[in-house]
């Protein structure tokens, strides 16, 4: 074959371009540490890479969800542990009332009153921004006397009474705490079933807004204990744990605390009963229901523990899975540095070889040897 000097220079130029390109690419690979810089570098690999990245982002989100769920359940457990202790104290007081001296009763009554205040506080526990035991009504304390009027529709004033009362007076305050209205028995707004033992409900209407109310009740000069009723609902809170997997976390205060408020109110009512005999009997009668409330609470706690365990297992699983996916992503996306550097060195020496060859081959010509 006839070879011309242009073929030589052309060939060398071609090789230099190609090798310089390889060198650049190899350099880029080493510098970025990435095997795939554009979809065309490895179309299938790019697809996998995106899938792994998405899995990773999902796992991180699920881990965050699980962490939130655990936080909530831990808080739940702390609160319910306190409530258990509180029930124990109440049972002890009830037992002491039936055996102890009569003159301790006002003190015991005061203690029960304190227990009730504590219970209200516990039942109104909040996570950062939501009430824990309010079902879906997370913006409203589930055990406070609270009323919301919206769209002009009458709201319901609900409260519990430990015994039948003849005098009920309800003070309604607006959001700023100013007294709006005082409702009394027979005061035009007769309570529907006002004054009976147990839950009472009265419809009341006023301008739209949030209101709170306090209830005072008495019967023939003796005060009747009014207690808080549950204003939340039975809505469940769902927690996303994985792809199309979510669990329900119970948030129903009505179910969790049951008749605890009523029983404590009854105990307090019994302790301040002017008739000591009837009072003793009434106090004793609350022991069994209180124990049953304690049992029910234990069941709720056990459920919480099971869910917590579930979350822990899920957490462990994701920690392992995350490592796997990260590993896969790394393998798809990243280069093996040792291989990349060896390749870079190879291209470097190839390039230098071509340059050296060019220097040798291009110089001689017949002209150099004439004359």
């Amino acid at each position: 074959m006839r070879v011309t000097s242009n073929m030589m220079t052309g060939g060398i130029a071609e090789n230099l371009y190609r090798q310089a390109e390889q060198l650049l690419k190899s350099q880029k690979t080493v510098a970025t540490g990435k095997r795939i810089l554009r979809p065309s570098d490895d179309p299938a690999g790019m697809g996998k890479m995106l899938a792994y990245r998405r899995s990773l982002a999902n796992i991180e989100q699920y881990q965050e969800n699980v962490a939130r769920g655990k936080m909530r359940l831990e808080l739940n457990e702390t609160v319910l542990d306190d409530v258990s202790g509180l029930i124990n104290s109440a049972v002890n007081i009830a037992a002491e009332a039936s055996t102890g001296p009569l003159d301790t009763r006002p003190i015991l009554a005061q203690e029960v009153q304190n227990l009730r205040l504590q219970l209200v506080q516990l039942a109104n526990s909040k996570t950062v921004d939501a009430y824990l035991y309010a079902g879906h009504q997370t913006d409203t304390a589930p055990y406070s006397h609270h009323l919301e009027i919206a769209g002009g529709a009458p709201g319901a004033i609900t409260f519990g009474l430990a015994a039948v009362a003849t005098d009920v007076s309800i003070e309604i305050h607006d959001a700023t705490g100013a007294l709006v209205q005082t409702l009394t028995q027979g005061d035009g707004v007769t309570p529907g079933s006002g004054g009976s033992a147990g839950t009472n409900s009265i419809a009341w209407s006023g301008p739209d807004g949030d209101y709170s109310y306090t209830v005072a009740a008495g019967s023939a000069g003796t005060p009747v204990v009014a207690y808080e009723t549950y204003t939340g609902d039975s809505g469940d809170i769902r927690l996303i744990l994985g792809d199309r997997t979510s669990i329900v976390i119970n948030a129903d205060g009505g179910e969790t605390f049951g008749d605890l408020f009523e029983r404590l109110a009854q105990l307090q009512q019994a302790l301040q009963d002017p008739d000591p005999v009837a009072g003793t009997a009434a106090a004793a009668a609350t022991v069994n229901p209180l124990n049953m409330a304690a049992d029910r609470l234990e069941r709720v706690r056990a459920e919480g523990a099971v869910t917590f365990k579930h979350l822990e297992l899920t957490e462990d699983r994701y920690a392992g899975l995350k490592l796997n996916v990260e590993d896969m992503l790394e393998k798809t996306e990243k280069v093996d540095m040792a291989t990349a550097i060896v390749a870079l060195q190879k291209f470097e020496s190839d390039y230098q070889t071509t340059l050296a060859t060019a220097a040798r081959v291009l110089q001689p010509s017949l002209i150099d040897f004439l004359r």
């Binding site: 006839r2 065309s40 995106l50 998405r54 969800n65 879906h136 996303i240 010509s365 002209i367 004439l370």
Partner: protein, 463 residues
């Protein structure tokens, strides 16, 4: 019968012929680096002999013609391969720009923003009344919609850019056609005699090669050395000394179609019959690849907006009213977060019932689970997989265009080497020729001197 004067003629013919040869050698050396130059050589022949006794006497040398050393077959192959090379090279370059639109390697593309969007719904499910979560969701949704808008706008811009490129390509075709027709005329005039229009042919070959890189052509050379070129299903582009023209006219999609302008100045669309060259590559990407990607993006944006809106409409916002539209628009270009939601994030419906507001997170959970729903491709694939298939397809197309273009480039290089091997100027060879012809010239001069001395001798004889 020998005669001295005849000998002088032989010397003269040798001197002149080798001077011509040296001339051509010089021309070759001068053009060693001229692209498309074909080396030339002087074809020598012995002059017609004279009858004499004892036999025919030679009558010196004559330069028959100056010929270029050219392999017609290789020239044809190069023209053909240039068409394929131009096509894939143009396609590769255009697709590489499209690829940037779908660049996900940094993790900030549409895929990433979609994942963030779904995760924002999960965050909302963890705190359905949370203002921060709602604001964050709105911004993630706006980011996602923005990513769709940007992709659509990018694809649009690339089509517009390609319009300009096609227009430029057509202008180049017209310029080349005119120049070729011009050269046809000159070559025809030169070659009516026995002359070879070597350098003009070189120039014409180079122009045809450039033309072939732009558009697929058929060529045919007539007896007078004039080249006819046709494009797009046999429509003439160059016919002997006349050039026809191509034009660009907006087609139904609003992009420039390639047209052939006939004798009545009517434009005939030949876009569909362009089968090679850069124009084919550009048209393929502009009218094939890009609309395909955009259709798929539109489908995805439309389905996403519809699916999200359906779930959203079934939920209730913080005002306990039924969820309104979350996304507005139905294509990649016009999808956006509904202005009402964007202004007031409390309009985001996270609850499944009016009574469940604000703690119910069922709708947020349902929304987060939409990412796993087989909403795309007729219920076969989810949003993310669908988008991933677009990215992979773009990558594959760039890859295969690059492979084809690389293959063509290698082929052209080796064909170029063949051509160079036959037609290229070798300086070593020219140096040899230089010495060869110089020596011959020297010898012929010596002959003339010898004849001169012989004449002198003869003249001296008569003194």
């Amino acid at each position: 019968m020998a005669n001295i004067i005849g000998l002088l003629d032989i010397g003269k013919s040798a001197l002149l012929t080798h001077q011509q040869s040296l001339n051509v050698t010089g021309h070759n050396i001068a053009n060693v680096n001229t692209p498309g130059y074909t080396r030339q050589r002087v074809n020598l022949a012995a002059n017609s002999p004279l009858d004499s006794s004892p036999g025919q006497m030679g009558d010196g040398v004559v330069a028959v013609d100056i010929q270029r050393v050219y392999d017609r077959y290789i020239g044809g192959r190069i023209t053909t391969e240039k068409q394929a090379f131009g096509r894939w090279e143009a396609q590769k370059n255009a697709l590489e720009r499209v690829e940037i639109t779908f660049d996900e390697s940094g993790g900030y593309g549409l895929s990433g923003s979609m994942t963030e969007f779904w995760n924002a719904w999960q965050d909302l499910s963890n705190a359905p009344a949370g203002h921060t979560e709602r604001v964050s969701l709105v911004s993630k949704a706006q980011f996602l919609a923005g990513a769709f808008n940007k992709s659509a706008a990018d694809l649009n811009q690339q089509q517009v850019d390609l319009d300009a490129v096609v227009k430029g390509g057509v202008d180049d075709v017209n310029r080349l056609a005119t120049e070729i027709a011009d050269l046809n005329q000159k070559i025809g005039e030169v070659e009516t005699g026995i002359q070879n229009a070597n350098d003009l042919r070189d120039r014409r070959d180079a122009l045809v090669s450039q033309l072939a890189e732009l558009i697929d052509i058929n060529t045919f050379e007539n007896g007078q050395g004039r080249l006819s070129i046709s494009v797009g299903n046999g429509r003439p582009l160059v016919d002997s000394g006349q050039a026809w023209h191509l034009g660009t006219t907006p087609n139904a999609d609003g992009h420039l179609g390639v047209t052939w302008i006939d004798a009545n100045n009517t434009a005939n669309d030949i876009s569909a019959s362009v089968k090679g060259g850069r124009l084919k590559g550009w048209l393929d990407v502009r009218d094939g690849a890009i609309p395909d990607y955009r259709t798929r993006l539109d489908e995805m944006a439309g389905e996403l907006a519809a699916a999200v809106n359906t779930v959203h409409a079934a939920g209730f916002d913080l005002y306990a009213t039924a969820g309104q539209m979350f996304f507005s628009g139905s294509t990649a270009a016009d999808i956006g977060v509904d202005p009402l939601v964007a202004v007031d994030p409390n309009r985001i419906a996270a609850a499944a019932t009016a009574a469940g507001v604000p703690g119910d997170n069922s709708t947020a959970v349902a929304m987060a689970e939409l990412q796993h729903a087989s909403a795309m491709g007729g219920g076969t694939t989810n949003f993310d997989d669908f988008y991933r298939s677009i990215v992979s397809d773009v990558g594959s197309q760039v890859r295969s265009a690059a492979d084809f273009s690389e293959h063509q480039s290698v082929m052209l290089t080796s064909l170029g080497n063949y051509r160079e091997s036959v037609s290229g100027v070798s300086l070593d060879e020219e140096m040899l020729n230089l010495i060869k012809f110089q020596h011959a010239f020297d010898a012929a001069a010596k002959l003339v001197t010898t004849v001169d001395e012989m004449m002198q001798t003869v003249l001296d004889m008569t003194r």
